[in-house]
């Protein structure tokens, strides 16, 4: 099937620091890709390059075959197609749960209030947050915030949803609920790229695992390949830390 996103020769540095070096990477519809790797290996930066929160220094990002780094690309339009779920939730602090899920629909996609509301209710129901419409983010637990953040992203009908360590900031008892939601989305065929340290999730849910090491993709393959038969010594070393833990 045609790739939704295809990345070629992507480079990014911050000052002297080479963070991404010659990344080559593609995403086909329905794939659930887990990005794993040590802290500082460039996973977040890669994810942020995909929705242009960071501007790459070199390379191509082809979306349905069109290079978004070239020419007059409508970045905002593109970003509605690529949702992002952040480690720190980033719910809009000045809006309640319902408005968090509606504001992008009404102001970016120009949907009617009623349509936006229906959609918001649908996805809030789905993530189990329908009873919290009037709550402000400050009133919610971390797990609840993250589920609202997922609903907010889904309301934009993205083609791809990016997750940057969505459970890393959560208390352990909150992790399960968020992972359940993500598993459900994967089952429904949503295309997802997930940076995670939840190896169980990567093994059970992903269609492909990408191991990053010092700004390069050191190894990628099916969960079976990576977890049962890793080829690269650095992958083995990285995974051994999780298996012991």
């Amino acid at each position: 099937m045609e790739n939704i996103i295809e990345i070629r020769g992507l480079k990014k540095h911050f000052g002297q620091l080479e963070v991404l070096n010659d990344i080559r990477f593609s995403v086909a519809p329905g794939e659930v890709i887990c990005l794993i790797g040590a802290s500082g290996s460039g996973k977040s930066t890669l994810l942020r390059c995909v929705n242009l929160l960071e501007t790459p220094d070199a390379g191509e990002i082809l979306v349905h075959g069109q290079n978004i780094l070239q020419g007059r690309m409508d970045v905002n339009r593109y970003r509605t197609k690529v949702g992002m779920v952040f480690q720190s939730f980033n719910l809009f602090g000045n809006m309640d749960v319902l408005r968090n899920c509606m504001v992008g629909q009404t102001h970016v996609l120009k949907r009617s209030k009623e349509e936006a509301r229906q959609k918001a209710l649908f996805f809030l129901e789905k993530v189990g947050m329908r009873d919290f419409l009037g709550a402000s983010p400050a009133q919610l637990s971390g797990g609840q915030k993250q589920r609202v953040a997922i609903a907010r992203a889904l309301c934009m009908d993205p083609e791809v949803l990016l997750f940057d360590e969505p459970t890393s900031a959560l208390d352990p008892e909150m992790v399960g609920g968020v992972l359940e939601v993500m598993k459900g989305l994967a089952r429904e065929g949503l295309t997802m790229i997930v940076v995670t340290h939840e190896m169980g999730f990567a093994r059970d849910v992903s269609t492909r695992v990408v191991f990053m090491d010092k700004g390069v993709i050191a190894e990628e393959g099916t969960p079976q390949d990576i977890f049962q038969n890793p080829q690269n010594p650095r992958t083995r070393e990285f995974l051994s830390r999780y298996i012991q833990a």
């Binding site: 929705n51 929160l53 501007t55 970045v75 905002n76 339009r77 593109y78 970003r79 509605t80 690529v82 949702g83 992002m84 952040f86 720190s88 939730f89 980033n90 719910l91 809009f92 602090g93 000045n94 309640d96 504001v103 992008g104 102001h107 970016v108 996609l109 129901e125 789905k126 993530v127 189990g128 947050m129 329908r130 009873d131 919290f132 009037g134 709550a135 402000s136 400050a138 009133q139 637990s141 797990g143 609840q144 589920r147 953040a149 907010r152 992203a153 934009m156 909150m174 609920g177 359940e180 939601v181 598993k183 459900g184 989305l185 089952r187």
Partner: protein, 248 residues
């Protein structure tokens, strides 16, 4: 001592319409000036918070630097010179153009002066908003303008509300310098009364009391508003605070 108070009461009784008229002008100018100043501050402060981005074209870059330089000059000049000097200078400078009366000129001067302070307050308020808020807004496709108006500014204003309110209180007191251009505010009226009956101490005791009542009341009202803003708009039953179950 008793004589002093008798005199004070006597002046208050005889001249209260003048004090009252002056207090109204003081409130009018300080309130209007603070509101317009806030609008100026919101504009200038948000413009100054716009950063040069790597994707910007050369023209946009130059434009941004130019705007930054001009707004810097505005802020430095108005914060770095006394308002009494600004008022005399601008009143006479622009009188041939606007043909304005002192009160209009006073509102103009207080607005522009307050705007310079508000711009810095708003800029600091914008910087106090978590950058994650901006990223989330951009990630759902909002333009930088939408991000500013819908997400960042509302939180910046809320965060800097105490400082914004303080500008109002400061203005209630500092509009007294507009006497220099014959604005008939509380101080101007008081000096008139004091001079005509040669009782500066007693008159100013009244004047000070009125200023104190104005600033104290304002501070209290602002405090109440601040408290109200801190409260979540609506609440939901405690029974619903248990994490809901996702429906997958």
């Amino acid at each position: 001592m008793a004589e002093f108070f008798t005199k004070v009461l006597d002046i208050a009784q005889r001249y209260w319409p003048l004090f009252w008229a002056g207090a109204k002008v003081t409130l009018l100018i300080s309130l209007t000036g603070t509101v317009i100043g806030l609008v100026i501050g919101l504009l200038v402060g948000s413009v100054r918070a716009v950063k040069v981005e790597p994707r910007d074209s050369l023209g946009v870059r130059i434009g941004k630097h130019l705007v930054h330089a001009l707004t810097s000059i505005y802020i430095e000049v108005f914060r770095g010179t006394p308002m009494i000097v600004q008022s005399v200078f601008l009143y006479y400078l622009l009188k041939p153009v606007f043909k304005w009366n002192p009160v209009t000129a006073g509102i103009f001067i207080v607005s522009v002066n307050t705007g310079a302070y508000m711009a810095e307050i708003i800029r600091a308020g914008i910087q106090s908003v978590d950058p994650g808020q901006t990223e989330a807004a951009r990630s759902i496709g909002m333009t930088s303008m939408q991000t500013m108006l819908l997400v960042v500014l509302p939180q910046a204003v809320k965060n800097s509300f105490p400082a914004i309110g303080n500008e109002f209180v400061v203005n209630i007191k500092d509009t007294s310098v507009l006497s220099a251009i014959s604005v008939t505010d509380l101080y101007f009226q008081s000096i008139g009364v004091a001079g005509s009956i040669f009782a500066y101490t007693q008159t100013m005791a009244i004047t000070a009391s009125i200023y104190l009542v104005l600033t104290f009341t304002t501070t209290r009202i602002l405090g109440l508003i601040e408290k109200q803003m801190g409260r979540p708009k609506s609440s939901f039953p405690a029974s619903q605070t248990v994490p809901g179950n996702p429906t997958f």
